[in-house]
């Protein structure tokens, strides 16, 4: 019997994974793509396991994607949203999680505005913790689904030039992607105004560039990030109009990238702000494939994590 060496109990970020573990997640996800194409999109792999979706921030695609992924694996899933919970009555994060844990879930998926909150949960929780986005820190499943999409479209994940454009400073998606492509030994160029792409990012092994034309030249992947107005991104540049003129992707600029290059966006997109409508809907755009792959990647992560250790030993 072939057994895998995925030894992680949690998925807190890409930073602490090895390249081989990333490949394993993507290979597993590849097999799950097929499950989603069946008439009956359900397999019994996680029957009897309980997954808690613990979302303290708004989310459409990540939350529903985790929910569908868990259901296709036959797990039971509980959706918890902070607005309808006892947090409003003053319960702390720790008490909320301990209360949920008393119901014996195997996996907790958490999104929180505080960077490091998933790591904090691992200090007292017994379930496997999956980070679904924490503050400005990491969003590992997004980077993994991006990588799966790149691999499907370009046939490889190594030796590529990846251009990431936009609000890098506030972006957990960018950080997870930087860590991932660093491990895959890809060239990473970060593009945006100096206020949103500070030179300190060089320390992560990326090149910082403030000219979109120079940065996109010969890129295999052009990854756009959303202008995050809710995080005050507007205060970092003079006007949307100026930002659009300098850092939006359009056909003319995209023509500088490699011939078979693709354009990505983690969504939600601001049409005609960071991405031209013609680009978002064009054949180079893989935005909807990213969403679709999100399910397969999350199925793979749920499958590979061991779940609550208590249940294993009690067996």
């Amino acid at each position: 019997m072939t057994a895998t060496a995925f030894k992680q109990n949690h998925l807190l970020g890409i930073e602490h994974l090895q390249a081989r573990e990333i490949d394993l997640i993507l290979d597993t996800a590849d097999s799950f793509v097929e499950v989603s194409n069946r008439d009956i999109k359900k397999v019994p792999a996680l029957k009897g396991k309980t997954v808690v979706n613990l979302f303290f921030e708004n989310s459409t695609r990540t939350r529903s994607s985790f929910e569908i992924a868990a259901k296709r694996l036959s797990a039971d899933i509980i959706n918890f949203s902070s607005s309808a919970s006892s947090l409003k009555k003053g319960e702390t994060l720790k008490d909320t999680v301990l209360t949920l844990e008393a119901m014996n879930p195997h996996i907790i998926v958490i999104r929180h505005s505080a960077s490091g909150s998933p790591l904090y949960l691992t200090t007292f929780a017994r379930s496997s913790i999956i980070n679904a986005g924490d503050g400005f820190h990491e969003h590992p499943t997004q980077a993994l689904l991006d990588a799966l999409t790149i691999r499907q479209r370009l046939g490889r994940l190594r030796g590529l030039k990846i251009a990431i454009i936009g609000d890098i400073l506030h972006s957990r998606v960018a950080r997870s992607n930087i860590f991932l492509h660093q491990k895959m030994k890809n060239e990473i160029v970060l593009i945006g105004p100096p206020s949103l792409v500070p030179a300190e990012f060089c320390a992560l092994g990326a090149t910082v560039c403030h000219d979109i034309r120079a940065g996109v030249k010969n890129a295999d992947v052009v990854m756009m990030l959303r202008v995050q107005e809710e995080r005050g991104a507007r205060n970092y540049f003079p006007s949307i109009r100026e930002y659009r003129r300098l850092f939006a992707i359009n056909r003319e600029i995209f023509a500088l990238a490699k011939k078979e290059a693709i354009v990505m966006h983690p969504g939600p997109i601001n049409r005609d702000v960071e991405i031209d409508t013609s680009m978002a809907d064009g054949s180079e755009s893989v935005i909807l494939e990213q969403v679709n792959n999100g399910i397969a990647v999350r199925m793979a992560v749920l499958y590979l994590l061991k779940g609550d250790q208590r249940h294993e030993s009690a067996d």
Partner: protein, 183 residues
């Protein structure tokens, strides 16, 4: 666990005859090949299925549809495994509805893999029949499952392991019985 070869049971010649006989028996029992489909269980069952398909083609000049099935997600011991087995591809390029399915694996042992494979096939539709072809039947069944077509019945002890080696993967055609090395 270290293993050593206890005995060599079949060589290339014997295996070829067994494959041909299995192909013949499948045709004998299924007169109408129009609804006949082969499904090989990942990973060695797929190669066994390809061989059988090729011999059937030689005899009848029809190429039967061949599907690949990975049963990992349907295993009954998933919840208690420390490490998760690798999930491989399932690729069944035809509808199983009302078909006569020959389910093919290299070795049938406890029968649990076959149970999982049947569950998996039923998620895809309702076949008319499912018949089991196993190249080696080594006994020790834990479920009421028996092979309709077999290359060889091979009584073994539980601690032994039957290794079917195929040229496509192992560069040699042979069947070995392995036993753990005692210290």
């Amino acid at each position: 666990m270290e293993e050593k070869i206890k005995a060599k049971i079949m060589d290339e010649k014997k295996m070829k005859r067994a494959f041909q006989r299995m192909a013949m028996e499948i045709l004998e029992k299924n007169r109408d090949v129009s609804t006949l489909c082969l499904i090989g269980i990942q990973s060695k069952g797929v190669h066994v299925a390809r061989r059988i398909r090729d011999y059937i083609k030689e005899m009848e000049n029809v190429e039967l549809p061949l599907g690949i099935l990975d049963i990992t997600l349907f295993r009954d011991d998933l919840h208690k495994q420390e490490m998760h087995p690798v999930v491989k591809k399932t690729d069944i390029p035809f509808s199983v509805e009302a078909k006569d399915i020959i389910l093919i694996d290299d070795v049938v042992f406890t029968g649990r893999t076959i149970r999982a494979a049947m569950d998996s096939i039923f998620e895809l539709g309702r076949p008319a029949t499912i018949q089991l072809a196993a190249f080696i039947d080594r006994g020790h069944r834990e479920l009421p499952i028996s092979a309709d077509f077999k290359g060889k019945s091979l009584p073994t002890s539980r601690r032994e392991r039957v290794k079917v080696q195929l040229k496509e993967i192992d560069d040699i055609d042979q069947v070995l019985i392995m036993e753990p090395v005692r210290f």
